[in-house]
Structure formats: structure tokens, C-alpha cells
């Protein structure tokens, strides 16, 4: 096991850029970091470690800037007390050189020994099964657990399975919408990937501070049409390139009922805002985007403020509509936990 302390304060960006990303300063300042002042990044010795960590670094840099800029702006306006003053140091990086299956004892000791730390972790599926057990043994709290897969053969020509399963798939279980990662990931993937799905299950449908920043934070996700299941207000679906019924089927939801616009009016497709993002902030790969989204969830940057038990994003464009990226098959698991 290797422990690295790195300065993750790279690529600082301006408050204006943050707003362009849909991250209001005040929301950031009040983000869920709350009482947690330490973060850790656990890398499980997988091929995706570096890309995932890069995404985590980007999200950390954004949040640090937000706090920095937000604090300064508020101080100038005489509103210091209204801005969160909780700072946290760059994540302590721990790399499991031999993988968790070989270093499970060290990981168990790490979880037992480090209290009050929010860990972001990435590992293979075998390690993830053990990690979940170690976590429960030590009484750690599970905030977010993700399973991520890209299968190159993906969506088509599958004799026994469903035809329209996206090739890039993410399934997250989060403690509550407060720790949603789906919106952040959907925004990152939409410009670059033809076929993806993101499913989020929230164990508790309520956000602890739901409604406070709802209008500012939960703008419609650019490029998606948003629906809720009629009669079941806490099931939400965001589709791009396919109907709600097809989107529902492609994520394997067996929902009976009609999908209606989420906000009570006909959804409008806002593709323009997805394209207008500053080029330098586009992440280059899907794994990096997952790291980014996971860290935003760990910090609480992109909380979903609407009561929700399940939501999904689905993008499915016909082959040939966009150039297909060169992506290698990969599967891994991600975590946000608190010791």
C-alpha cells in the first residue's frame, strides 16, 4: 500500500466558469462537505486508476475555487457568515499496489483507524465485493456505490438479451439525492458518447436540505427531456435521443404508467447549452468523468434537491449520428464512504 500526499489544487478556474458549469457559488459553499474535513482517495490497482483520479482532482479543484471565490466575494459584500467556511485538505491518496484482495487487512485497518474521513474509492468488481464487507465490519457509512461498464459490443445483435441496452452503463446506489452523481456525469458524457445510461437508486428519497437551493441547482439537465412517472412523483427519467418509454425499457425498469413532464410542462430540449461549455473543461474520457462525478457527489456539489427514489439518464443516438469514440471495454466499481 502506497500513501501519497499530492497537491490536487490544479487547474484553478474562476467563479464565472463555475457558474457556466451550473454550479452556483452559494450552493458550493453550503455543499455537503459539512462536518467532514478530510477526504481520501483509495485506488484499487485497476487500469482505470489514473483516469478516475484525474476526474477526482478536477472536481476537487473546482470546489476549492468555488470556496475560495465564494468566500472572497461574500466577504467583500459583508456576508461572510452566509458562506460555508468549511475547508478540506486535498484528498490523501492511497494506492493498493497489490490490489484489495491481497491487501484487505491493510484496508480494514485503514477504515478502522481513520475516523471522520470521506473516502472516494475505485476498484474492480471482486475487490468491491470485499470492500463492502470490510466497510460494514468497521461501521463505515456508505454514501454512494457505483458500478460502471463499457461493453464494446453493447447495444446490438444480442441474441438472448435486450436489444437496446446502452454500451456505456452506470448504476449508482446513493444514500439520498443529496449525494447524486448522475447529473454531473450525464453532462460530461452527453457531448461525447452516443449510447449511455445512468441509473440512480436513492435509499432515502429525501434530501436533508431539499428546497433550499432547488431553483438554482436543479435546472433541467441540458440536452435531456425530463419526465416523472405519473402517480409516482419520485421516479424521474431524463432522455436524449429516445422516448421516455424506450428509455425506461433500456434501463430495465419495469414501470407501468405514463411518463409526464417533470415540471408539469412540456419538456424542451436544450442542446445548445451542452455545447456552449468552455472547451478546456471538457473531460476527455468516460472514466475520468466518473471520477469527476463521484467526487462532486462526495462533496455534495451537485445534490439533487427534488425528492426522488429513482432516476435515470439515457442517451441513445442511432449509430452514425455521431462519431464513435475509441473506447476499450472496461468495468469497475466506485464508492464514496465515510468512516
Amino acid at each position: 500500500m502506497d500513501v501519497h500526499r499530492r497537491n490536487l489544487m490544479k487547474g484553478l478556474v474562476t467563479g464565472g466558469t463555475l457558474l457556466a458549469l451550473g454550479m452556483p457559488l452559494q450552493a458550493l459553499a453550503n455543499a455537503t462537505a459539512g462536518s467532514v474535513r478530510k477526504f481520501g482517495l483509495l485506488l484499487g490497482n485497476t487500469p482505470v486508476d489514473a483516469a478516475f483520479a484525474a476526474g477526482v482532482r478536477t472536481a476537487y479543484a473546482l470546489s476549492s475555487n468555488a470556496r475560495l471565490n465564494g468566500f472572497a466575494e461574500s466577504e467583500a459584500a459583508g456576508r461572510v457568515e452566509s458562506i460555508g467556511k468549511v475547508w478540506f485538505s486535498p484528498p490523501r491518496v492511497i494506492k493498493l499496489k497489490g490490489g484489495l484482495l491481497n491487501e484487505y487487512e491493510a484496508v480494514a485497518k485503514l477504515l478502522e483507524g481513520a475516523r471522520g474521513v470521506r473516502w472516494i474509492a475505485v476498484m474492480d468488481d471482486g475487490s468491491a465485493a470485499v470492500f463492502t464487507e470490510l466497510m460494514r465490519n468497521t461501521g463505515a457509512r456508505l454514501i454512494l456505490r457505483g458500478s460502471h461498464a463499457f461493453s464494446s459490443y453493447g447495444a446490438f445483435d444480442r441474441p438472448s438479451f435486450s436489444r437496446d441496452v446502452p454500451e456505456l452503463r452506470h448504476v449508482w446506489t446513493a444514500a439520498s439525492p443529496e449525494f447524486s452523481a448522475g447529473g454531473a456525469l450525464a453532462e460530461k458524457l452527453l457531448p461525447a458518447y452516443n449510447s449511455f445510461s445512468i441509473v440512480e437508486d436513492f435509499l432515502s428519497s429525501e434530501h436533508s436540505s431539499a428546497g433550499i437551493f432547488a431553483r438554482r441547482v436543479n435546472k433541467p439537465t441540458p440536452g435531456f427531456l425530463s419526465y416523472r412517472l405519473d402517480g409516482s412523483d419520485d421516479v424521474h427519467l431524463h432522455c436524449s435521443g429516445l422516448s421516455a418509454a424506450d428509455g425506461c425499457e433500456s434501463v430495465g425498469w419495469n414501470k407501468t404508467g405514463t411518463w409526464v413532464p417533470l415540471n408539469g410542462r412540456e419538456p424542451e430540449l436544450d442542446e445548445g447549452s451542452a455545447r456552449s461549455r468552455p472547451a478546456q473543461l471538457q473531460l476527455i474520457g468516460w472514466v475520468e468523468s466518473v471520477g469527476y462525478a463521484t467526487m462532486t457527489a462526495a462533496i455534495g456539489l451537485r445534490s439533487y434537491q427534488i425528492p426522488c427514489s429513482q432516476r435515470a439518464f439515457v442517451n441513445q443516438l442511432p449509430l452514425g449520428t455521431k462519431r464513435r469514440r475509441d473506447v476499450r471495454p472496461e468495468r469497475f466499481a466506485s464508492f464514496v464512504i465515510e468512516t
Partner: protein
Amino acid sequence: MPNRYIALPKGISEKTFDSAIADFRNVLGDAAVLTSAQQLAPYIKTMMPVPDSDHTPSAALMATTVEEIQKIVGICNRYKVPIWTISTGKNLGYGSAAPVERGQVVLDLKRMNRILEVDKDLAYALVEPGVTYKQLYDYIAEHKLGLWLSMPAPSAIAGPVGNTLDRGVGYTPYGEHFLFACGMEVVLANGEVLRTGMGSMPNSNTWQVFKWGYGPYLDGIFTQSNYGIVTKFGFWLMPAPPAFKPFVIQYENEEDIVEIVEIIRPLRINGVIPNAVVIAHALYEAPVKARRSDYVTGPGSIPDAAVRKLAKDHHLGIWNVYAALYGTQEQIDLNWKIVTQAFSKSGKAKILTEREVGDDPAFKYRASLMRGDMTLQEFSLYNWRGGGGSMWFAPVSQARGSETLKQMALTKEILAKYGLDYSGEFIVGMRDMHHIVDVLYDKTDPGQVKAAYQCFDELLTTFSAQGYGTYRVNTAFMDKVAETYGPVQRQVHKTLKKALDPNGILAPGKSGIR
């Protein structure tokens, strides 16, 4: 969805549950009663092809004493709140720590982790349910007791109580774990404490050495059941042998399993090979060495040609027979001669020992398991397909070559129909074999989830129709398997349940018993 809880027990109002939780807190303290989503999330993850929400607990309780458990069952009876008891909760692939039904309260006994006694001379242990194999392993090493454990593949993180109560197996000569269980303490649903066998007699010192006691033998009804909460558990340990010789015998064709089993059976029954031999298919061993995507990227199950190439590339047989000899060097030398002679006759077997393959990762972890050492390498299986889906399909077979080939072919055929791979092994008992198949699938792919569910259902249906019973199953299919054993057995189980737990508070649904 309720406001204060992420789930509620079936038929229990939030108000009633509030009262039960308040009473639990009075007994255990606030910190030992978990109700928040973040605290309960680690109890929910299952690997089954059904929504985790079907198995979401309403709360988790951390008891540390028998007296606390007695009070807990009293509260459960008062409010009709069902509990799902786990020791360490490592039943991976069979449901993990999650309850069989949504809303059940998990009673987590991990903090009851005292090693009460380990007797070096009589070679037994008496432990509480939260004791892990690793804890016991360290205790034995620290006290230089010269005893070996037998443990399942999740060795270090699992514990002997839960594994034995679910009738799990290990890989040493003590591999059929329940065979070596001796004496239990059980909290019954009415709060009474039963000690089985000789334990019922005051001042007895034979609780952990004589199983049977007097009258009907009761220990069995507390395994794979929901008739009581086991709070102490005795079992026998193997004296460390003076010498140990692990080996692997490789065969190149699937049909060779007939020869393998016909050779092994007499060696097992006669005690020449004393341990629970494993006959592992190449795809069961491959994940510690290879990635599936290096051999196949298209849809469907992996083709035989790819399996052959993989086996060749990574020095695996299509079948890999892992066994070991134990005893004095003289015993081992003699038995080794018998083993090599038996397997050399046809010329098909490739016999390898530590000298040739000691550094091979598959051999290393198998050898560790056969000597009762800690290893978690078998979890590499979950990387084979990826995506976190796994169900153990576990039919029992006669230790007869023709039967094993038939079961293997039938399993493979059904798996292939759903695009899934045959990752199987046979664990050889004295006269039976546990046919263990890890049905691996990608839980992120709803198509595979659906296929895996249908596939598992068809495996159970087809096998039971041919008279092949499943010895253990995950919580999503417990009712179905219980059904395959016929109405009379099911009714007897229910009658016992009604007599011992009239309010149905102990894990209703476990093994299909309510």
C-alpha cells in the same frame, strides 16, 4: 416510501415501528440501533438479479450479549417485527447480509466475537457468532496451538458460525463443516436459551466432544433455518499434520471428468485422499490469471475454442483437480504412490506438485485453502464478467463420473442459452459432490439481469425435474427451492416453525419457511 425509515417491515405501520425502535434503543443504546440510509446501505448490496429494494432492511441492531438478544426477541414478539440474523453476513452470492424480505430488521451479531475456548488437546473451539476465521486463525497462531481451520473461499472475512449454519464447505479434511459441529447455544423465539446435546446438562464438560446428547438430535434444525438464534457454537479443529502435500492434476477435455471422478471416489471413500477435493473447470480458475475480454468480446457465452486457448495460454487444464495429502511423511509417501498410480493409468492426467507450480497463482490460493490459510483470491471470479452479478447454483451430484458429466453438460447448455459462461467446480465429499457454479453476469446490463434470472430459474426447474436437489441457494430463490423438496417436507418445516416461533419473528422466508 416512509419518511423516517428507508423501509418498513411488512404490515407494520410507521407508528408501531417507532415504538419498536424506541424499545430497541432502550435495550441496546442509540448507537447500536441503525436506521439511517448511510448506516444501512452496507447491508443492502446483493449480487442477485432482483432489485436491491426487495431486500432493504428497515433497521439494523448490534447486540453484544445473550441477554440483549432475549430482550430483542421480546420486543419483536410484542410488535410482530421480524428480524434477520447475521453473524458476519458474508454469504456472498447467496444474498450477503441483506434480509430475505424487504423491511426485516437485521440483527447483526458481529460484535459478539469472543473466542470462548480453544482446547488444544481435544482440538475443538467454542465461539460466538461474530468470530471470524481470521480472528480464530490469529488466536491459534498466537497461542501456538498447532490446530488447523477449514474455511470457505471468503476465509478471512467470513466466520465459522454463519458458514456452518448455512451448511457451507471448506477444503481440508474437515471440509464438510456441519459434520464437525459439536454443540450450540440457541436463543429461541420465546426468549428461552437452549444448549443442544450435552450442553443441556448442568456442569457437563462434554458439550464440545459428544454431539448427540440424549433424545432427538436437535442441532440440524438450527441450520439453514429460522427456528432460533445461535449464540454459541462448538466445532472440531484439525490437529496440524506433520506434513502436507498439495497437488493438482490437469485434464484436457471436459469428458475426462468421468475418469477423474471414477478414480477419486475410491481414494476418497478409503481415506487415501482425505480432504474435500476440488475439480475446477478452467473458467473457474481463469479469473486469477486472465481477463475474459482478452478472449471474447462479442455477445453470448465464451466459445469452447476460446476456453481451450485460454487454458493453454495460462497453463490450466480444462479440469483441474486440487487435492492434498496429510499426515506423516511416510503416510504421504505411501499415499502419493497410490494416487499417482491411479491417475497415471490412462495417460491423460498431468500431475503437478508445489515443485512445478508452487508460484502459480491458481495453485497457490488452492493450496492455501487446503491447509486452512487465509486467501481472498477466489473473489477474482467477480471480475470475469464484471458488473457485480453472481449467484451460486449448487446442485448435489452422486460421486459417479457419468452423473457429473451429465450435470456439467446440462448446466453448460442452459447457461449458454442465456449467453452465460460455465464457471463451475465439483467439491468432492465422501459419496456426493457439491456441484458449484457461479452464475456470473453484469448487473449494469438489464438484459443480462433478466437473462440471469431466467437462467437460474430454468436451472432449478430442470435440475429438480431430473431429481437433482439444490443444497443451498440465494434469498431470491429460497421459496422455489423449498418447493422442489415436496409438500410433506415443507409442511414439517412449517409445523416446526409454528411451534417454535408462533409470531413468525425470526427470519420469515429463510429457506422458504414462514
